[in-house]
């Protein structure tokens, strides 16, 4: 029999497909629905200390080969969000709490509060490409990445994942800094910094002008990043970026990913995409005589 349960640090997943942060994960109802429709785990929207409205619309639009967004980290703040996490836990959802802060103190406070609310793991957002003072602005400095990871790790007992950006010159170095800080896994990649100018109105379409590109177009970038990181770190990698099919997930695994996150594909294949991808993974494994998913991880690193 083909088995696809997965383990990242001590986090056990019924399958390796995880809902990526920022997609249908603002309220418990949506996250429960996605979990029930087949995801192995859910990553919450990135949550900060205080409510943030995010940027005005247009904040997300579709381009030829993917989605461009600059939401601006909208979130109700950790105090309000706690009740959503509590609801998720009542429904036995495996949930990874995504948090963002501007310094290690904020990350630590948020991490502790998320853990208290009941999340199974944390994802530190050090890669949002379009929020001033957060995300990538912090995640591009090796020392800061290491310090934040160390401080969060020392204040919580649940696994800590660090989500890193493709918008860096030396991605493996940032991954190594997270590993040095004690991260249990690396999540790669966040969206790719991008822009669309509307030629009819002669202006950038997004209200924030610059945003992050996701979907099919960024898959080769994600594959390359995971491949490079796999060679330099000894902790698991969760691959994310442009995964639409089981074959895409397998490609990420061959590059070195132990699990994958899926976001934009909800648009092209609806919320049942997790179930569909798991089925496609199993079919591929059956055709190619694989019994356990672990046998695939990193095989392309020749």
């Amino acid at each position: 029999m083909i088995e696809i349960p997965t383990k990242i640090a001590n986090l056990r997943l019924k399958n390796p497909t995880i809902l990526a942060s920022g997609i249908m994960d603002e309220d418990a109802g949506s996250m429960i629905r996605i979990f029930k429709s087949g995801a192995g785990a859910i990553v919450t929207k990135s949550i900060g200390l205080k409510p943030r409205e995010g940027y005005p619309n247009p904040s997300v639009i579709e381009l030829e080969c993917g989605l461009l967004n600059a939401m601006g980290l909208p979130n109700p703040g950790i105090e309000e969000f706690k009740s959503e996490v509590i609801k998720l836990k009542k429904s036995k959802v495996t949930v990874i709490g995504s948090i963002f802060g501007s310094n290690s103190k904020e990350f630590t406070v948020l991490g502790t509060k998320m853990q208290d609310a009941g999340v199974n793991a944390l994802e530190l957002n050090m890669s949002c490409p379009h929020a001033k003072g957060y995300g990538l602005e912090i995640g591009s400095d090796q020392k800061i990445v290491e310090k934040i990871t160390t401080n969060v790790k020392s204040s919580v007992s649940i696994p800590v994942f660090v989500k890193i950006s493709p918008n860096l010159t030396d991605i493996p170095k940032i991954a190594q800094s997270a590993e040095k800080g004690g991260a249990d896994a690396i999540v790669a990649i966040n969206t790719v910094k991008a822009m669309k100018i509307d030629i009819e109105t002669q202006r950038p379409i997004l209200s924030n002008k610059i945003g992050g590109y996701s979907g099919k177009a960024i898959k080769p970038i994600g594959i390359r990043c995971v491949y490079e990181i796999y060679k330099k770190v000894n902790i698991p990698i969760i691959g994310v970026g442009g995964i639409n099919t089981g074959e895409d997930a397998i490609e990420y695994m061959m590059a070195g990913a132990s699990a994958v996150q899926i976001g934009s594909a909800i648009y092209s294949r609806d919320i049942y995409v997790f179930e569909k991808i798991c089925k496609e993974i199993k079919n591929w494994m059956k055709t190619n005589n694989y019994k356990k998913i672990d046998e695939l991880i990193g095989v392309a690193n020749l």
Binding site: G29, P56, P58, E62, N75, P76, S264
Partner: protein
């Protein structure tokens, strides 16, 4: 593709001093009840239900209530806006005897479905309401369809003094209806659903929207139902399962705001 088509406004009409209609070209098929994401370049992009559906031309009718609608209100014929859509589900005219109830700007999106029902020779009664006389609009348009029209104002400056739901309660007692269609303040629609008892019921919900195509999660209600793609029109079976209906909505940050 979910990208705004930039188009020039071909006609504008002030319905009253705070409500305006803007018309632009469209060559897509639309079901009454569907909406567009309207981009006001440099300002915002907001969901707007369609209020006029003519061959190759559609209209939106809105009230000045914030930055985006104020900017939209000030646009003139020839100015550019972006439109992407149509999005969402439309009304389904199941049945022969139909009651329409529109409150405030909710009347705007009911008008094209009333016209469609008349074309299908259905038997209909329409109730529209506003806070006060000078906030009413589309009275003439609805009367011209031949539908039997009832009007209420909260302050009694026109029509019956009181709420649309007061008139509805009375009409429902005296008549048989197969279906009730409504759009307006959510508390009004909730009350109407309670009054409607076992009559089939469809209501158009409004939530803060960002993507409009079912991915960002901003407009989700109940157990993860996306108003933008699975709504905005919901029937009573779904509405009864949505714990948020008539209780709260979420602001741009995702924070709950009570009605």
């Amino acid at each position: 593709m979910n990208y705004p088509l930039v188009t020039k406004i071909i006609e504008t009409k002030n319905e009253n001093n705070r409500i305006k209609t803007i018309k632009f070209e469209n060559n897509k098929k639309i079901t009454p009840g569907q909406f567009y994401m309207i981009w006001i370049p440099g300002v915002d992009e907001i969901p707007m239900s369609v209020s006029y559906i003519d061959k190759n031309i559609i209209g939106i009718t809105f009230k000045k209530i914030g930055e985006a609608t104020n900017a939209l209100f000030n646009l003139k014929k020839g100015d550019k806006i972006g439109a992407r859509g149509p999005y969402g589900t439309g009304f389904k005219l199941n049945g022969k005897k139909i009651l329409f109830v529109g409150g405030g700007t909710g009347v705007a999106m009911l008008a094209p479905v009333i016209e469609e029902a008349i074309k299908k020779k259905l038997n209909l009664k329409v109730i529209i309401g506003a806070k006060t006389k000078n906030e009413l609009f589309f009275e003439k348009r609805i009367k011209e369809t031949g539908a039997e029209l009832f009007i209420s104002t909260d302050d009694g400056t026109y029509g019956t003094k009181g709420f649309t739901t007061d008139i509805a309660e009375d009409i429902i007692k005296k008549n048989h209806f197969d279906l009730i269609l409504t759009c307006g303040p959510e508390l009004m629609m909730k009350k109407l659903m309670d009054i409607s008892k076992d009559i089939d019921f469809q209501a158009s919900l409004e939530r803060f929207m960002k993507c409009g195509f079912g991915i960002c999660g901003q407009c989700c209600i109940g157990d993860g139902i996306r108003v933008c793609t699975e709504g905005p029109i919901f029937n009573e079976k779904t509405l009864k399962k949505i714990q948020d209906f008539g209780i709260f909505k979420r602001d741009a940050s995702g924070k709950k705001i009570k009605f």
